[in-house]
Subunit: 455 residues, 2 copies
Amino acid sequence: MQKPSIPKGTRDFSPEEMEKRNYIFDTIRRVFYLYGFKPIETPAMENLATLMGKYGEEGDKLLFKILNSGDFLSEVDSDDFENRRLVKLMNQMCEKGLRYDLTVPFARFVTMHRNEITFPFKRFQIQPVWRADRPQKGRYREFFQCDADIVGSDSLLNEVELIQIMDEAYNRFGIRVRILMNNRKILSGIAEIIGEAEKITEITTAIDKLDKIGLEKTNEELASKGIGKEAIAKLQPIILFNGSNREKLTALKEMLAFSATGIKGVEEMEIILNKTELLEIRSEIELDLSLARGLNYYTGAIFEVKAKDVSIGSITGGGRYDNLTGVFGMPGVSGVGISFGADRIFDVLNQLELYPDPTAQRTHALFVNFGEKEENFVLPLLFSLRKAGVNAEIYPESAKIKKQMSYADANRIPYVIIAGESEIQENKVSVKNMLTGEQQTLAASKLLDYLSSQA
Amino acid sequence: MQKPSIPKGTRDFSPEEMEKRNYIFDTIRRVFYLYGFKPIETPAMENLATLMGKYGEEGDKLLFKILNSGDFLSEVDSDDFENRRLVKLMNQMCEKGLRYDLTVPFARFVTMHRNEITFPFKRFQIQPVWRADRPQKGRYREFFQCDADIVGSDSLLNEVELIQIMDEAYNRFGIRVRILMNNRKILSGIAEIIGEAEKITEITTAIDKLDKIGLEKTNEELASKGIGKEAIAKLQPIILFNGSNREKLTALKEMLAFSATGIKGVEEMEIILNKTELLEIRSEIELDLSLARGLNYYTGAIFEVKAKDVSIGSITGGGRYDNLTGVFGMPGVSGVGISFGADRIFDVLNQLELYPDPTAQRTHALFVNFGEKEENFVLPLLFSLRKAGVNAEIYPESAKIKKQMSYADANRIPYVIIAGESEIQENKVSVKNMLTGEQQTLAASKLLDYLSSQA
């Protein structure tokens, strides 16, 4: 006998949690479809050759590797074993790993299926990913990503549509958000203008921390990264930038006048903002120069969404990239994408109590079971409800009525149908509304109409 | 540069395949909800302690094991390595594995969450499972299972409801099926009556092969398994059983009169058949004594569904069990369940060309992109369509019209909206029906009405 448990960092989802999760995925999926995105799915396991080296050295360590089936020692070098060369041994014993994100599998998919795909390709993908991160509150080793990307198009209209998608999804959730936007080209321009083009990563990483550590510490960090005094001085107006998006863009235009790249970034940002103004965007869009996520990957727009009424990290992020599939030998595939963080959205909806009552998937009516004879009377009624599309059940055995009522309560079933001897004689049923406690008797033939009118 | 591939036995799903798969899962899920079943999900990874020893020695080998993160050699015994003790080494290096089916994780779930669950518990679960089987046509290393179980109730009404679910699902698919039914107790009774109670597994395995290898070989196999001549002679009428379900039950009652277990099985079967007759079951239900799937696990009814018009193995199977969770230290949990084989259903629907045209998830209208000015004219129109729930897109850049039309074709978009200079001047749009080739011009404000009326 063993007391069962599950691997740390993983979760079971109960029916109640599934209701909420399905609500999140269904909402996002519906918006993706509305904007013409199409689903794909890829296998949980990828070849390690596909995954390794794509997420940095740290990422390689966080991949879950799968032991080869059969004789997993057949390729193992005894010398590597004796000297505990872990990476070499792992490569000798494991060919496959679990996917770490949806981007690399998508790049692999595009490369392998390039001849079947019509570009621009608008795909979405909602699947779990696995990371051997240290589990902590709100961070799991198995979690879902919800990604949408358009590849094979450089048009900035794609950025605009992704902004609309984020706006629409959060509007449907009832979550008020700020959509933060930046542009890698602007960041490059700034680094160029202050004479530290090589240090763009250090600069943006430091700026990114401004909110958390304050101005003084940010400047100290910049200095510690070898950024000169003069350059830091030149950076100050940018770090402390204030004003509307348009004011920021005007200031940037002036500042970046001698950086072709920088000006390109400002122009891209302007085009995107102009287009969004033609549309009804309900979320606040904010140009945020400290936004620098995944900098080495992104080449144009960078997005991030923050909930206004809950203090939590970003709940959606994304950006434009130039070269999705180069590493797989397919050059020139540019694209732009976003990823919704389902776990954080789950937490935000919980905190703000924004979940609707998703009754559509619940049982609407439970028939009480009084035994053989009564069962035979209600079975055809039950069947007729289901035939009409009403989710309905009969308690499977003639347990005590109290137990059957508790079952209805626990499963939040709103109507309980009772047909005892007296009802059967008159071809009637009693219907109890579990919310109000009211009960009424009606002709068995009227049951469907009655329940439908109450829905 | 590497040429990417995916692990053997795994698959990518393109948007077209996703449409079909979603149709299958949505249909099954809808029927599960209709009958009051609730979804759960469990993690892809389970502790190996949960999985090992549950699927026989062969099953243990087919589990995908996950290499421990960090120093996976820390527990490894050098002596075990030198002597290539694979199982021991695997246990030292791996704590987790990928789930092999949905039954063991469900049993683990019920045990761990026993205090939160209201019994009877009607759960369904649609998730992938992984098996390191040798890949072959129609057999994959990653595939989906769709399971529904009722646990915590001995009532035969549950069996009846599962029959209804199978009948309803296949009716919705348009697949004509035979539902085969047997009962473990009847098989036990037969083994008892012919004096070979110990050999029940051998007997049913042999009978199970009758269809494939014929009567003579079946009898030879029985003899080779040590079943006596007399016993084999007594078995002949059962093997060659013919007639209606009722005739079979009458004959069995006579034959099994002196086996209490056998008679119990016959009675269970009668009750189930009587109840189904109260309902509209459209599938043929057939008592099939050669049905013996998962014999060691099942204790009562055994089910299997075969497609009538396609030659393929069983497409759904299941049965009643007495002791789901005993191995995890929770005794007395009986239940009954079924599992739909999504991959085979996929093949059957393909062969019979039964897929509906699932247009609901496709893009309904594509706006042609003629450039900046035209884009600004159509963007608000596009937005108003989406606002009304119409899946719609604009081609993201002003490519050649032929390319844009090919995109609409490839994505099976039924309507293409054209707004060039002349249309814009008159505040009109032209709508091209991609199926008929017809094109007509209408006021921009009438577009939504027009598309809705054509849906």
